[in-house]
């Protein structure tokens, strides 16, 4: 056992059980304190063993493995190539295109999810009859599989047989080929259709955390509703907005199903989302070395983004 076991925890530290203080500190069964602590530690490790094994085998080994593989090339990814795959990735127009496409997609879905989520939350937060029903209706798409969402919208937007164009035709309006003329925007809109209910619930929780007294004070001071929104609601919601932004960026950068199901990356790679691209390099071209490097690069981007957003958020936090 490492020497840490012999250190006694300071008795006043909060969160630790009282069983190490008081009359039974020396052990209720006539054993010394070390034995008791060691026994408890043994129990802890016994209960933890499956989890430690699981996270090692299914998270940490794969991470080490993907980094290792990314440094190799060849059909079996067994020839050492140093940073060759990473250099290739920066020179590869297809990889660069898919990164730009994914960034645009992520900006669109993140901004949209914040604006729509906050807007819907402000509406649902009012004392209305039937608001539980509205909340339910708005949340449904989020709990629907991307497969169902993707297939449904592909049908709805189909230029010939889709209901949307049929309706436009019925009203003698010009029909559209959404997935050809504005494919990425269409994917952003479909994704917003799916996730805005989720961000609405997050904002709703944030709104309910703002104490009523601030609004009352502002009201007495003669602040209008617009002022109350910009001066109270929005600044006090900053932690929620940050959380929503981080979540939306992380999931936007990882979007896959939309490209796989709705557009197959096209037309002309204009919706070649990064993870879809990575999936094709790995499982269609069978280039595990290069695709591993691509996945490490995206992981680094996600981690840097998250860290930057957290830092920016901490600096902007408002207290009243």
């Amino acid at each position: 056992m490492p020497s840490k076991t012999t250190e006694r925890a300071p008795a006043e530290r909060p969160g630790r059980g009282p069983h190490r203080r008081g009359p039974f500190a020396r052990g209720p069964f006539g054993r010394g304190p070390l034995t008791l602590r060691a026994r408890r530690a043994r129990t802890a490790y016994l209960f933890l063993a499956p989890a430690l094994l699981f996270f090692a085998v299914f998270y940490y080994v794969p991470i080490a493995d993907v980094v290792h593989t990314s440094l190799h090339t060849g059909p079996r990814a067994d020839e050492f190539d140093g940073l060759g795959n990473y250099v290739d990735a920066f020179d590869d127009p297809a990889a660069r295109n898919s990164f730009v496409v994914t960034l645009l997609f992520t900006v669109g879905t993140t901004v949209g999810a914040i604006v729509l989520g906050l807007g819907l939350a402000l509406l649902v937060n009012r004392p209305l009859r039937g608001r539980a029903l509205f909340r339910l209706a708005l949340l449904v798409p989020y709990l629907t599989s991307v497969a169902v969402v993707g297939l449904l919208w592909r049908n709805i937007l189909d230029p010939q047989l889709g209901i949307l164009n049929r309706m436009l035709r019925e009203f003698d309006l010009p029909t559209q080929q959404w997935l050809n003329t504005a494919p990425l925007t269409t994917l952003v809109v479909i994704t917003l259709w799916q996730i805005s209910g989720y961000t609405m619930i997050l904002f709703l929780a944030g709104l309910q955390g703002i104490p009523e007294v601030y609004y009352e004070a502002a009201y007495l001071d003669g602040a209008g509703s617009r002022q109350r929104f910009w001066r109270i609601t929005l600044p006090l919601l900053a932690p929620t907005t940050l959380f929503v932004a981080v979540m939306a960026v992380i999931s936007g950068l990882q979007a896959f199903g939309q490209a796989y199901i709705i557009t197959n990356g096209g037309p002309a790679d204009s919706t070649d989302l990064y993870v879809f691209h990575l999936f094709n390099v790995a499982f269609r071209s069978r280039d595990f070395g290069y695709s591993s490097a691509l996945s490490v690069l995206l992981l680094i981007v996600i981690m840097v983004f998250t860290a930057l957003q957290m830092r920016a958020g901490r600096r902007r936090e408002v207290r009243y």
């Binding site: 840490k4 080994v61 449904l152 993870v275």
Partner: protein, 271 residues
């Protein structure tokens, strides 16, 4: 609220809800149309004679019964594993003091930052080496636990009074009995949230089952449905019928436990 505001708010909410619900209702309508109706150029919102037989045809055209069984086994198995392991691990981190506790907890939380796309290639190779590709083992084992569930349960167990646990010790209960009989019953609301979340997200999971299966009868519903649609892209009435079936458990869970979902999502937003 004055009258105009109230009317505006209601109008906006009705429009927004209609935008989310009507496409899903259209999916149901589509599933009851004939193949001809789905392909004709006319807008058919309500089919003249609902084709309930489409649902039977779906089971003949694709091994849809297999898809359902696979999805139930995979999502159900993973959910059970989470309910078994996450609270136990959360309990240890909430109530035990042992060497490297904080380091190990940080290591488990850090896995939340490791998305599936990073694990996908090495896991595929691992499953291939084990000969597990295209089997339930490959679909279930990488998801037996997760950092989020453990974190959630630890947060929930921390306020359980230590005196309650010590009382069990004084009575001579075994450590596992203390967990099973004293701690676990206190966590029922959190277990409900954890179970519903895990099941719904695993039921909907798309990427890993797509990567890890190759034979048609091992596919889960989302993968089976998507590939069915790729192979029979004109059979929209059947794709829609499959989508409706896939959506049934989600709808049931939502109707009967919306409360848990809303609370659970709000919980994930807390820090």
């Amino acid at each position: 609220m004055d009258r105009t505001v109230r009317v505006t708010v209601y109008t906006l909410l009705v429009v927004a809800s209609a935008l989310t619900v009507v496409p899903l209702l259209y999916m149901v309508a589509l599933s009851l149309q004939t193949e001809g109706e789905t392909l004709s150029g006319e807008a058919v919102l309500l089919p003249e004679s609902p084709q309930w037989g489409n649902y039977a045809t779906l089971f003949e055209e694709a091994p849809f019964a297999d898809f359902i069984v696979n999805s139930l086994v995979v999502a159900g198995g993973i959910t059970l594993a989470h309910l078994l392991f996450d609270p136990l691990v959360g309990y240890v981190f909430a109530k035990f003091d042992f060497p490297f506790r904080n380091t190990l907890f940080a290591a488990i939380l850090a896995t939340l930052m490791i998305p599936l796309f990073v694990r996908m290639i090495p896991l595929y190779v691992m499953m291939s080496d084990l000969g597990w590709l295209d089997s339930y083992q490959a679909l279930v084992t990488p998801f037996l636990m997760d950092g989020f569930g453990i974190f959630l349960m630890r947060q929930f167990i921390q306020p359980v009074p230590d005196d309650l646990i010590d009382a069990g010790r004084v009575d001579g209960a075994s450590e596992f009995a203390i967990y099973r009989r004293i701690v676990l019953p206190q966590t029922k609301p959190a277990l409900a949230v954890l179970g519903l979340f895990t099941f719904t997200f695993q039921w909907n999971e798309f990427l890993w089952p797509l990567v890890a299966t190759s034979s048609e009868d091992m596919r889960t519903i989302p993968v089976g449905l998507t590939l069915f649609n790729q192979e029979h892209f004109t059979l929209w009435h059947l794709t829609a019928a499959g989508s409706v079936l896939m959506f049934v458990p989600t709808a049931l869970i939502l109707v009967f436990s919306q409360r848990y979902f809303v609370r659970g999502i709000a919980l994930t937003g807390l820090k």
